[in-house]
């Protein structure tokens, strides 16, 4: 079974978010980047587990410049066999999806794994787009994926519940909490990852249909108003009569 795991890079969760150039660019100065947690903890680990059971190959796929190599190495230390990096600064989701689709047309895969969403732009766009470009089923927000003979059974998170579906390869899947348990690479796998191949390829062109014209940070909260235990009814009244939320 050959699977592709698409990984993205995001600012660390505690990074300070700032914008420069009059609110037109993200200020990456001093920001540490990590592998998107959904890609690392869930998508990659489930892909590696399937390979460990059935053989085949796990290819880690990333669109980004050379500064992403550290994130790619981490993915290889968790169990990817090889990596492909498309050498470009990703412009938008469409651009990323197009690179994934092109690679999979040239190098067919049984399953393409995505994270549920990236934690910076929270788009949940790339998986759906790439699936359409490849004309394959897409199981979104999967919290479970099991083999079932010739097919697979997946459970996907829906509002207030889960839906179980049966699907045959090739398909794409986006991974949420539950599909696998986070793995911490050990020293040996970190050493071994250094010898695994990373291919760098050039991007295919794509049209940019959407642009971000302005960024800003939301105004800070004006400060918390504290209530004593004797005054809780007043708090509830404020929630009802002033805030009008109940």
């Amino acid at each position: 079974m050959n699977v592709l795991v698409c990984i993205s890079k995001t600012p660390e969760t505690t990074a300070k978010i700032n914008f420069v150039e009059g609110g037109t660019a993200f200020d990456s100065a001093g920001v540490n980047y990590i592998m998107n947690p959904y890609d690392e903890w869930y998508a990659l680990v489930r892909a590696v587990e399937l390979k460990e059971k059935n053989g085949g190959e796990v290819t880690v796929f990333h669109v980004g410049d050379a500064s992403s190599d550290i994130v790619i190495r981490k993915a290889l230390s968790i169990g990817g066999d090889k990596a492909v990096r498309v050498n470009a600064d990703p412009k938008d989701s469409f651009f990323v999806a197009k690179q994934i689709a092109q690679y999979c047309k040239d190098n067919p895969q049984d399953i393409i794994f995505f994270g549920k969403e990236t934690i910076d732009y929270n788009g949940a766009e790339v998986g759906s787009m790439a699936s359409e470009m490849l004309d394959i089923p897409f199981i979104s927000f999967a919290s479970k994926l099991e083999e079932n003979g010739e097919s697979f059974i997946a459970e996907r998170d829906i509002e207030g519940g889960v839906q179980s579906v049966e699907v045959r390869a090739p398909f794409a899947i986006s991974s949420a909490k539950g599909i696998a348990e986070q793995r911490i690479p050990n020293m040996k796998s970190i050493m071994m990852s250094k010898r695994k191949p990373v291919a760098v390829i050039e991007p295919v062109e794509s049209e940019t249909l959407v642009e971000i014209t302005h960024y800003e940070t939301p105004p800070p909260k004006s400060g918390v108003k504290l209530f004593e235990m004797e005054n809780l009814e007043e708090l509830v009244r404020i929630l009802r009569d002033e805030e009008k939320v109940i």
Partner: protein, 319 residues
């Protein structure tokens, strides 16, 4: 040049997310001076109710058969309908269905895509919509340059509003192709408003000490008609079911009121809740980071404060 809304249903029922999407789209269409219709797929038992939310027309696809969701099959049918009726802007809810279909529609229609939109387009000739980024730590304006556009609208962007007129309900002249997956079962918790749709949320964390103490949380939620949530360590320890976990790695919510009890307010927790309209925090530690993100706070032992707050709600709601 019209607007077409995908009105999703779950088990044959259109819910608040669809009513909101229709309300938003009506406002959008009026702003652009164009028509607005909606499309449903499968049997919808409350189609009459949907018809009161302002669409000129509701197109039904495959109304004779309940078809659970398949993004591939649905995207093709919706794109075919859009083409046949000349719709150029597609609106969906930013829900599990909307998110999985939006990218596919954008590819099919060669449309610019913006997900999780939280406002109507700005005034002016360009199509510019706003959304939040970095789990609520930033806002950005997206300009869509293509003629065709696909957007998903995040919950609580506009309150659902009924219209005076009633939509025409017609059968769409498109066929639903073969399904690419086989939906086996849809399990939902009955009788409870799912977290992503809840307007009132009572959430508790490790300060609760153990699962056996959750009675006071459930009592408060019941008095308020709120849905319960929890922090990640609580779900990880199986004190509470995993679907209650809110935050960066769990569910992101935007209720009108979020009451956080015995939760420290770690940045990864805030990431999922800081778009709530009003935040109330109960914590015995006055230095807990959550107070910085809160509108109202109670510095007290939660085992005292929660039952008292419950009484206060009962008294005020009865008055």
């Amino acid at each position: 040049m019209s607007v077409l809304v995908f009105a999703e249903n779950l088990k044959g029922v259109c819910k608040k997310s669809s009513f909101e999407a229709l309300t938003y789209s009506r406002m959008l269409a009026d702003k652009l001076g164009v028509g607005m219709s909606a499309v449903t797929i499968g049997t919808v038992s409350n189609i009459e109710e949907l018809a009161s939310y302002g669409a000129d027309k509701i197109y039904q696809i495959n109304k004779s058969e309940v078809t659970p969701f398949d993004s591939k099959q649905f995207a093709k049918a919706i794109a075919d309908l859009a083409q046949s009726i000349g719709a150029t802007t597609i609106v969906a809810s930013h829900s599990s269905q909307g998110k999985s279909i939006a990218g596919r529609l954008a590819v099919r229609m060669n449309a610019g895509l913006v997900t999780a939109v939280n406002s109507l387009p700005q005034e002016g000739s360009d199509f510019i919509v706003r959304r939040s980024l970095f789990s609520g730590k930033a806002l950005a304006d997206y300009k869509v340059n293509s003629t065709n556009k696909v957007i998903t609208v995040i919950g609580n962007t506009v309150p659902p509003a009924k219209s005076d007129s009633v939509s025409d309900i017609v059968d769409a002249e498109v066929t639903l192709g073969a399904a690419s997956i086989n939906v086996l079962e849809t399990k939902t918790v009955d009788g409870e408003i799912p977290l992503p749709e809840a307007e009132l949320v009572v959430s508790a964390g490790r300060g609760m000490k153990g699962p056996e103490n959750w009675g006071i949380i459930e009592d408060l939620a019941q008095t308020m008609g709120a849905t319960t949530a929890c922090s990640r360590p609580v779900a990880d320890a199986d004190w509470r079911p995993h679907h209650e976990h809110v935050g960066q790695t769990g569910v992101a919510i935007r209720p009108n009121l979020y009451i956080a009890i015995g939760i420290s307010g770690a940045i990864q927790h805030l990431a999922g809740v800081n778009n709530s309209k009003v935040i109330v925090v109960i914590n015995k530690d006055p230095e807990a980071p959550f107070f910085k993100a809160a509108d109202y706070g109670i510095v007290a032992d939660l085992f005292d404060a929660v039952p008292k707050l419950n009484e206060a709600f009962k008294n005020v709601l009865a008055s």
